[in-house]
Structure formats: structure tokens, C-alpha cells
Subunit: 213 residues, 2 copies
DNA sequence: TCCTGATCGTTAAACTTTTCACAATTGGAA
DNA sequence: TTCCAATTGTGAAAAGTTTAACGATCAGGA
């Protein structure tokens, strides 16, 4: 029952801390929030509050025990538990994500991909089967899929999202450049590459045209 | 000189609006902020304030002229202007991004990729050359590269970031699960897939173990 | 033993973003 | 023409996030 409410902002920083802690655990027993904050250019109180949300075992003058902190963050993030996943939309981006092995480190296991193009259906991408979209519901229900990755065009994203939610999927990773509406209890995480590019593009434009302040 | 300060949050929503406006422009002359807000499940005042940041030409009872709005958002985002880009780290994720053609729509032009693995250097990925990392500075300076995509492991990300910044690159798209420190004037946009997975994973865990509220 | 300084944890202040409340405007119908 | 309902735009409140201030704690040396 020591479940504290962790803000999304904090949750996003935890994997960053975790990665850093793993990288230093061989040669550091203890680490202070101040040191972490300096490593990443953050405010030290912010780091302390983030760590407090998962730990609360820091000691003055010493800091935190690195291995404890790692265990506590891993427990909160729960990367060890495998998340059964389907990917919908085996276009360029979809295939790219299917080919990316890095997700395994975070417990993501893509069982199958779906697409409605007959030319790609039936093929394997990185050893993972691409199935016709009509099979989506059957597979999701039978395999007890928990997470869905959406890489279809924005115009179809909401429909796919509805179908996934109807199969009992409660977490959706959306790469389409749109905002999805979901029933209560379903979480959508938007990985909107267009939004990121908008920020970068705006910055480049400001650099060129305007004040270089 | 009608440059208003646009918050990053607003800027992230603009591409979403833009995509939607493009999809309706054939059958709608006008659109109200209220309608947009309902489409995406946002607050109507928020949409109105977002649109105000780029336009300010809404009329009571009518709303906004779709084509005007599109032109204004496109002008702010400036997706039409090509951004010369390099990608550093041609591993799985790097190759996946190189293969993704969707970036062209946003004005992103990846000129070359860099890696220090001899087996991949000299090859082409999706028609783009993979060059040895030692050539990074030369190419960036000669081709006047503006944007750098970092897809190397977290442990090398800061070093690559420093090298890119030293070549005059002012915008960095970071896919490594770490926070980068950059000189003033350089913008880092983090696309931290680990952070996103952390959010999703936490949600799945909460669903299973705890209160389904 | 006692002091010093690093570090933690917490409360309050500053800042940012979102939501609420409401007056002002406008097109269209009665 | 007059009224109504839809819609905008804005100032203020609310909610959320980050930063600052400060007392409490503790390891290590004098």
C-alpha cells in the first residue's frame, strides 16, 4: 500500500534516472540527488522529489544506495513483466518499429502486426507475422493482448483505436498524428513525431529569420 | 512582426489541428473552435487560445475560415522549408528511421547517416549513405546541416551531441534515453521511447494489480 | 565529544497551463 | 427590424509543475 501517486512528468524522468544508475552501479555505492541533478542539468529538489515518489530512503550526507534505487524504480516501472502487444499498420513506420529490437529491453513483446494490404499480409517482418486486419479481434482476445501500437494513417487511427479498446486493450501507443478518444480506463500515449518536428522546425526558423537571442 | 510567443504545448497541438483541417477542407468552408475541441476531446477555450496564437481571425457564429487557418498554421510550422538533417547511429532504430519516408512530409531531408561500425559504413539504407563517424564534422560543415538525429546508445549520446553542436547544428532530435546538455541556442527535442513505455507499463500494472477505478 | 558541511525533506513561493465565467459580436429566423 | 443562439475573446480562478528557502539529519574529522 505504499503506492504513491506519481505524476506523469516524474514517471517520464524515472527511466532516465534508471539508465544512469545502471551505468554507474559498478563503481558507485551511493549517489546524491544533487549529483544526479548536475548530471542532467535539472534542479536538485526536483530530482529529490522524483526519487521520493518511489523511494524515500535517502540519508543526509550519504545520498541514496544505488542498488536500492535501481530496484525501486524497476519495481515501479515494472519493465521486467512482459507486455503482450500488437501493432496495427505495417507501413513504413510500422515495419520500422517491428524491426526495432530495442523494445524487448522494456518488456515489450510484439506478438503480431495487422494490415489490410493483401501484398503485405501473410509475410513476416523481423520474424513477426503480418495478419489481415479482420483477424485483429480474434487474436487480441485469444492471446490476451494488453497493449496496442497504432501506426496507421491518422484518418483510420480512431477506428482502430475503438476496435482495440473493444477487445479489452487498456493501453495504446499512438504514432498517428491525431488525438484519440478512448473510454475511461484506457490510456493513450502519443508519440507524435509531427509534433516533435514542429517544435524543431519552429526553432530552426526562429534561428534563421529572427532574433538570435 | 506579428510573431506571438507560442508555448511549446500549443506548438505540439498545432500539427494535430493542421492534419484535421486538411482532412476536412474539401467539404467545410468554416470551422468553429468548439467543433475542433469536440473532435479531439479538448477544452474549447484551449483550442481558441491555440488558434489565437497563430490567427486571431475567428468570427462569432461562423468560426474560422478553414483555408486561412491552414495557411496560418503552415506558415508558423514552416513544414515546407526543407531541413537538412543527419542521423547518427545506424543501429536498429536508426535504420528504422532512415527507412521511414513519412518525414519528408514535414520537410525533413536526411542527407546521410553516421556510424562507427565498419560493417555498416559504406552501405546504403533506403538510398541514404552510411558514413564513418569520423566524417561527421566535415559533412555537417560542408552541407550546412541544421538538424541532427541521435540514435546512438545513451552512453554515447552526450558526446555526439557535443560534436553536433560544435558544427553549428542548432536543433537535435534525441532518441537516446538520456537528457542532453547543450549550449544556449541549441534546442533538444527528446523522443524518449523508454519514457513512453514507462507510462504505458505503469498503467498496465495499475490495471492488473490495483484499483480499476 | 563536538563541530562542520553535505545532503535530505518539506513548506511556501513562482511560474505555467488549463478551465471557468461572462461580456461582446454576429448571422439568421421570426 | 428584433430577437435568439452560436461563437469568439478575455480576464480571473484553478490546477499542476518547478524553483527557492530553510530547518533537520548525519558522516567524518578536529
Amino acid at each position: 500500500m505504499d503506492e504513491k501517486i506519481i505524476s506523469a512528468r516524474t514517471l517520464r524522468r524515472l527511466p532516465v534516472y534508471l539508465h544512469y544508475l545502471n551505468s554507474i552501479q559498478d563503481h558507485c555505492r551511493n549517489i546524491s540527488a544533487t549529483a544526479i541533478s548536475e548530471e542532467f542539468g535539472l534542479n536538485d529538489v526536483q530530482v529529490r522529489k522524483d526519487l521520493n515518489a518511489v523511494s524515500g530512503t535517502g540519508r543526509p550526507k550519504t545520498g541514496y544506495v544505488v542498488t536500492e534505487l535501481i530496484a525501486q524504480i524497476e519495481s515501479v516501472l515494472d519493465c521486467r513483466t512482459e507486455s503482450k502487444t500488437v501493432l496495427v499498420g505495417a507501413g513504413n513506420l510500422g515495419k520500422a518499429l517491428l524491426s526495432y529490437e530495442g523494445f524487448r529491453d522494456f518488456g515489450l513483446n510484439i506478438i503480431a502486426a495487422f494490415d489490410n494490404s493483401p501484398t503485405i499480409c501473410g509475410t513476416l517482418v523481423n520474424g513477426k507475422p503480418v495478419l489481415p486486419l479482420t483477424d485483429l479481434e480474434t487474436v487480441c482476445r485469444e492471446k490476451h493482448i494488453q497493449l496496442g501500437i497504432i501506426t496507421v494513417p491518422a484518418s483510420q487511427a480512431q477506428e482502430i483505436c475503438d476496435r482495440l479498446a473493444a477487445c479489452g486493450i487498456t493501453a495504446i501507443w499512438n504514432f498517428a498524428p491525431t488525438i484519440l478518444r478512448v473510454p475511461a480506463g484506457v490510456l493513450v500515449e502519443n508519440e507524435n513525431l509531427a509534433s516533435s518536428l514542429a517544435i524543431l522546425s519552429k526553432h530552426l526558423r526562429a534561428e534563421k529569420g529572427g532574433a538570435p537571442t
